[in-house]
């Protein structure tokens, strides 16, 4: 398999990192590596039902949370970008807020990759955010081959 354009969806968790490694292994010289990072829309509800705070406190919290998420995104993107460039491949990335499957389908439509690579869902009981890729939505709508990398064994 020698794809010219790979779309890798990764948000830096253990499952996603094995997907990154697999994508990097398939990414040769001159290959286009497009990294999609989805910030799940669950964050929209993370102000919860707070009503006691004033606007200044809520604003400070909103900005703080945004900067935290930005920092986490930047760390993943920087690390992956460096690895891709070491392989003399071309790196691009995008960050989207929404449902993982919808964002991946939209990115796939835009980027027209030869291969899409994702990690598999986290096994039950493992810590992490609960925001799963809707596999049925994804496979029904995807126009490119999909490679799902198994979760790393502990």
């Amino acid at each position: 398999m020698n794809p010219r354009k790979i779309l890798c969806a990764s948000h830096g968790t253990d499952g996603a990192r094995v997907a990154e490694e697999a994508a990097l292994a398939l990414c040769g010289q001159g290959c286009l590596f497009h990294h999609l990072m989805v910030v799940p829309d669950l964050w929209k509800g993370m102000m919860g039902d707070d009503w006691l705070n004033n606007a200044a406190t809520r604003d400070r919290y909103g900005k703080y949370l945004e900067s935290q998420l930005d920092r986490e995104v930047a760390a993943v993107v920087d690390r992956l970008g460096e690895s891709v460039q070491q392989r003399a491949a071309e790196f691009s990335f995008e960050t989207r807020l929404g449902k993982p499957a919808d964002c991946l389908l939209a990115a796939c439509l835009r980027e027209q990759p030869d291969l899409v690579i994702i990690g598999s869902p986290r096994p039950k009981g493992m810590p992490g955010l609960r925001s799963r890729m809707e596999m049925e939505t994804l496979v029904r709508g995807l126009s490119a081959p999909l490679l799902v990398i198994p979760y790393p064994t502990v």
Binding site: L42, W43, M46, M47, W51, L52, N54, T57, Y64, L129
Partner: protein, 518 residues
């Protein structure tokens, strides 16, 4: 940015309100009103419905046909659609769904002693309104045209608390304030300390321990929002904490009223327990109104506890900030003045102002406790009926205390309560539950016949109820299952331990030390 959305929804909602108002006024709903026992809502079903209807139609036409430009007018008018969206759901529940649930529940017969299913589970307009809000956001989603106005629910709740200030006497405020400072002080500091200790034992990062302790200790999500930037919590730690608190809060809102009914807690006891034991402040108000839907005595107690909690918030945030700076290398220092200034809840000033105004007698004469006054110059139809007199006389033998027996004799002799002192003594007799249920109902009727509420205070009570119904339904629309699902990891374990300990211990303390009188 132009906020107004060109959408017919507001116009349709306005028309719906007008239809409700007109059909109520012209008797088209009479059958339904009798079946659902809606007589006490008739004023709202015309007055409020017409007001909301006219606003909805006028602003709806403007939204649809007007030319919108960036600016304050556009911003403020864009909130009307969301506000009316909440109001329509809240009032549909209050006027139709909750009464229907009550009728169906009564048809099933009592399920616990003489209590019906809807009494036991507190299935009234408040709880059903919150549930409707949760279902709306999670199943149907908040429409884009309503997004901006849904946030007004916070304003509704804060205004409700400010107006609540008119209903306290000085003695009540002093007593409840003292009680809440003691209980909240003990349990807030206790749970913050316990969470920090457990976090250290379980080797949880300081940022997670800090944000979790604020949420568990003070006022749930609001404290998490206030403390997260100060302790530099990671995003996943915030998600875990908010998920855990929302899960607990919603669970407690349903569980607390049932336990309160089972234990037969009084209004003060329940208000104090909910105000101390429920983690999230929004659900404290919800549980209080679920426990006593037809009165606001429980809400009054619970809200004093909420206010005390929020007054503790700047102190706790400051404590956590200093603790974090000391525990973590490289942590940013904080300005004490800025934390106190930023976190100080301004609506509490409004509450105190309304209380002060009320104390001057501007809303009701100062000697009218809660705006209620005694006047036994009543019409013939409000006097006790001969069969009621006979029942009270037949049961008078059960009464041992002389003052109670004499007050009862004066009542049966004159067919009405003869003095304010007699009224107080007879209220005590009702609370003592010595007489049968029927006799107590007659005494309550006799009390209501001679106790009148000052018109302004009556309006305040009605507005407070409506504002809380509006606010809590709107807050329900901000509880997403996606955020509740994040409950997990160590915060769920620690939250479970601390939340349960707080609820159980505060219940024990209240049962042992809190009396039902002020």
């Amino acid at each position: 940015m132009v906020y107004t959305k060109k959408h017919p929804a507001l116009l349709i909602m306005g028309a719906l309100f007008l239809i409700i108002g007109m059909s109520t006024q012209f008797g088209l709903q009479d059958g339904l009103i009798t079946y659902l026992n809606l007589k006490s809502y008739l004023g709202e079903m015309t007055g409020l419905a017409y007001t909301a209807g006219i606003i909805g139609v006028l602003v709806g036409v403007w939204n649809l046909l007007g030319t919108h430009k960036e600016g304050n007018l556009d911003y403020y008018l864009s909130t009307v659609a969301g506000a009316l969206f909440i109001l329509l759901i809240a009032m549909s529940i209050r006027w139709y769904v909750a009464p229907l649930v009550a009728v169906l529940s009564k048809e099933m017969g009592p399920v616990m002693g003489d209590k019906y299913l809807h009494d036991v589970f507190g299935l009234n307009y408040v709880v059903l309104g919150i549930l409707a809000g949760i279902i709306t956001v999670n199943v149907f989603r908040i429409p884009e045209w309503a997004d901006n106005g849904v946030r007004l629910s916070r304003l509704g709740l804060k205004t409700g608390v400010i107006l609540l200030g008119t209903l306290y006497s000085l003695a009540e405020l002093v007593h409840l304030g003292r009680l809440s400072v003691v209980l909240i002080g003990f349990f807030v500091l206790g749970s913050v300390g316990l969470v920090l200790w457990l976090s250290r034992r379980r080797r949880i990062p300081n940022s997670m321990g800090g944000v979790l302790s604020a949420g568990m200790g003070v006022c749930g999500v609001s404290a998490t929002v206030a403390a997260a930037p100060v302790v530099q919590a990671k995003s996943v730690e915030i998600a875990y904490t908010i998920g855990t608190i929302l899960l607990w809060g919603v669970g407690c809102m349903f569980l607390f009223p049932v336990i309160g009914q089972l234990l037969g807690l009084g209004h003060i006891q329940f208000g104090a327990w909910a105000g101390t034991g429920i983690l999230n402040s929004a659900q404290v108000a919800g549980a209080a109104l679920a426990y006593q839907p037809d009165g606001i005595e429980t809400l009054k107690v619970a809200e004093i506890f909420n206010i005390t909690r929020v007054l503790f918030l700047p102190i706790i945030v400051l404590w956590l900030a200093l603790w974090y700076v000391r525990s973590e290398e490289g942590a940013q220092t904080v300005s004490v003045g800025r934390v106190v200034f930023e976190k100080f809840p301004m609506f509490v000033v409004g509450f105190i102002l309304m209380f002060a105004l009320s104390s001057t007698g501007i809303f009701a004469p100062a000697n009218h406790y809660q705006g209620k006054y005694f006047d036994n110059n009543i019409t013939e139809e409000k006097l006790l009926k001969p069969d009621q007199v006979s029942l009270l006389q037949a049961e008078s033998g059960k009464v041992q205390r002389v003052d109670r027996r004499e007050a009862l004799q004066r009542l049966t002799g004159n067919r009405k309560v003869m003095s304010i002192d007699d009224d107080a003594v007879l209220r005590g007799l009702v609370n003592a539950k010595i007489l049968s249920k029927e006799a107590n109902a007659i005494l309550k009727g006799a009390h209501q016949a001679v106790r009148h509420t000052a018109a302004k205070i009556k309006k305040f009570r009605q507005w407070i109820t409506l504002l809380f119904a509006f606010g809590l339904t709107g807050l329900g629309m901000q509880i997403t299952m996606a955020s509740i699902r994040q409950a997990g990891g160590q915060p769920l374990v620690i939250g479970g331990v601390v939340g349960t300990a707080k609820a159980v211990l505060s219940l024990l303390v209240i049962l042992l030390f809190v009396r039902e009188t002020i």
